[in-house]
Point group: C2
Chain length 234, copies 2
DNA sequence: CAACGAAGGATTGCATCCAACCTACGACGC
DNA sequence: GCGTCGTAGGTTGGATGCAATCCTTCGTTG
């Protein structure tokens, strides 16, 4: 454990990404402080940080509220993510993979292939695939050797409730399809087929995004209670 | 004026971008507090925010230091910026310009054309061109109607000393060339030539980036004093 | 002479206290 | 009855004081 401020920041970030605080909800400082067992000071530091990260929006003298994302927002984010992923993959192909990176990606693709070859789909497989998937994209982006790109990609990944959705929209077919994509992308990068690698990576992420947007839209209809019209009822 | 925290954040951000605090330098909280005439509390809030924005890097129990950028970093940032600018322009072309956006861009391109037609280059023209240039990119990115993209683009713009360099690398030829680019990009977007618009915008920003990287590299050689070897001198 | 260690100063981290603001409820006047 | 003003509660903004940590420097020892 480092400082309380960092601990709180991580905890609150995780909680928001996990959906513990509903979109549009206000973050009460004293409530958070008592809940997490610290004073308001580290809480305020954390909120300020998370606001700068884009997870919260801040209004002076009013406080922080959790940003909510519409399916349009998600769609826009994936437009960006797919483009950046394409860029990163292209950069990796241009610069060529290091032996270490090639080794890691080779193992990752192999692990994915084994999961697919297993032919089963359960929570353990889903968890393992999640690991494989994340590793593939992370290693590829690191291979691009562009710190700024890495930074923006990490930012683009931080969307509340997205991780939970992942476990839902994954199924065996999706995994098999994605695994094929990974293998193809890896091949293109290895062969230094720059343009092909970029196009494949972009499309790969875009497809994932489209699936997520679809699911997001479905969950969207459920949460339209709104209405602050308790008076007219009487 | 809103809260002191916001005021301080803006002030310090401006100062950093302006180069008042050298890259790699430590930010002393009490020093900043006395300088700006506030207590450490808003200072700490500001530093935390700026660290999340990426302008400062933070080490627990050690404090904040100003991030320094090498020419490689700048190059990488412009790889990303040009790609995102291409994406934004493509989105604008796909969705089509609103009447308002088309009007604004038309006027901006016209203003730029007049500056070039003037045939002179002085501080006033440079300032006016700076306005035109910024407006063009801002309006175009807004026309893309992708909040997340806008957010990342603004982040990518915040690089210390970059604004000062701009006034140096601008000259009449560069302005004339850029003006042509703007006109062509505007035409492509208006005609809904999606791919052409993307390619032109990407290349346009990339060229600017290449120029900046070149200048950055030149300034880089000057600042290698380092060496904390005062003892051997005796 | 070099290297390790301890003490002091300096700086950051955190909690508490007070001030400013925003909001909501109630009273008063029209 | 309705609108408006005022006040009180609650929440955020900021300052200060103290604890904890780090860095530097000086002293000691091998």
């Amino acid at each position: 454990m480092a400082t309380r401020g960092l601990t709180v920041t991580r905890a609150v970030r995780e909680a928001i990404l996990n959906g513990d605080y509903p979109g549009g909800g206000r973050m009460n400082e004293v409530e958070l402080a008592t809940t997490l067992g610290v004073s308001r000071t580290p809480i305020r530091a954390a909120l300020s940080t998370l606001a700068a990260e884009g997870l919260l929006s801040y209004t002076p003298n009013s406080g922080y509220v959790v940003k909510s994302y519409t399916s349009q927002d998600i769609s826009g984010i994936y437009d960006v993510r797919s483009t950046l992923e394409g860029l990163g993959t292209r950069l990796a192909a241009e610069r060529g993979l290091s032996d270490a990176a090639r080794g890691q990606l080779h193992k990752i693709v192999q692990d994915g292939a084994e999961l697919v070859a297993g032919g089963v789909w359960n929570d353990a497989v889903a968890e393992a695939w999640e690991q494989v998937n994340n590793s593939f994209h992370r290693v590829m982006m690191e291979a691009a050797a562009n710190p700024h790109l890495l930074f923006l990609m990490q930012k683009s990944r931080e969307i509340p409730l997205l991780n939970q959705l992942k476990f839902r929209w994954h199924d065996f077919d999706v995994m098999a399809r994605s695994q094929e994509d990974h293998a193809t992308i890896f091949e293109a990068v290895t062969l230094r087929q720059v343009h092909r690698a970029e196009a494949l990576a972009c499309e790969h992420v875009f497809k994932s995004g489209a699936r997520i947007v679809e699911h997001w839209r479905k969950t969207e209809v459920a949460k339209r209670p709104s209405g602050a019209r308790s008076k007219v009822a009487a």
